[in-house]
Amino acid sequence: MLKRLLEYVGFEPGRFQARWISGSEGAKFTSTIKDLTEKIKSLGPNKKMRDDIL
């Protein structure tokens, strides 16, 4: 739901990801993070919700 809402207000698909990983699933965690960082890199710098002072 949140993912859909975020994409609806203009976040790139893939910018927000959620995975359910148990504490015992170390391998899944590493592969997910690797996958995630690669995808994020391919999306380039985030343009939305930049932290400008004013």
Binding site: M1, L5, L6, V9, G10, R19, K48, M49, D51
Partner: protein
Amino acid sequence: MMDVIQQLREQAKKLLEEKKVDLVIGFGQGTELARTTPVFIDSPEGVSKLTWGPFCANNLAKYLTDYKNAPGNIAVVVKGCDSRSVIRLLDDNQISRDKVVVIGVPCPGQLEWQKVAAEVKPGAVLKETADNGESFSVKTDAGDYSFNKKDYMLHRCLVCENPNPVVADITIGKELPVKTYEERFAEVSELEQMNTEDKNAYWDKQFSRCLRCYACRNVCSVCTCQICVFDQMLPMWVSKRTNLSENTMFHITRAFHVAGRCVDCGECDRVCPMDIPLRKLNQKIHKDLGDLFDSPTPGSKPGIPSALGEFSPGDPEEFM
């Protein structure tokens, strides 16, 4: 609508006289011809303040939580959409059923007051309104006017699901057929079709106007937190700055925080002083709730579980 007003006053009077309730919350004539204002009546003599018509946009169920710890019972006048709020508040245990007398009035639609005010002679005094099916006639001391529903109604009324209250102890007036003027999620679908960049540009333009007056939050009947996350100082999740990112954060959070509880009364959209189309955010959630969880509009039936508040093994698992 004069007969509805008459009956409304009689019923309210009876409730107060028989001490079944201590307070009646209803609509009274506002300070503009095409506006009403909430009235709080605690004596039988006060019922003449009550009115009804196509200018009763406010969702009075909002006020029920103000009185949840007050002694005595409360009667509240609700339209179909507002009655969904009552159900939601009951289901969320925000108020107890035996404390509330729901006076339901089938609603033929509500007009946007600014649009009406632009046509009517300034300073005119309202005499009478009537529902003519596709339009409302508005009689004033400065002439009679007719407003067709398609052009003058609030957008939420064009896609109304429940013209008749879904919960009511007393119903005043005749049941009305469901009549919609456009497909319910037409606007949402149109936005969904846009590419990411255009969506982003669209919402940036909307959110950049936000003053963060919190009218959308405060008017919401299902915003029932005692201390809102946006008011918290320790830690400060969202600051008082009104820049684009903080505003975006606020609006996503607000919309998502009522996901599954929002009854689609459209009040947030109506009250926004900057005309930000807030309902398009909530409607997106409603559309997804329907698509993913087959969930009806929250509050449209008593006892339906909140789609995001219950777990079912059959729920879609996009993140497993």
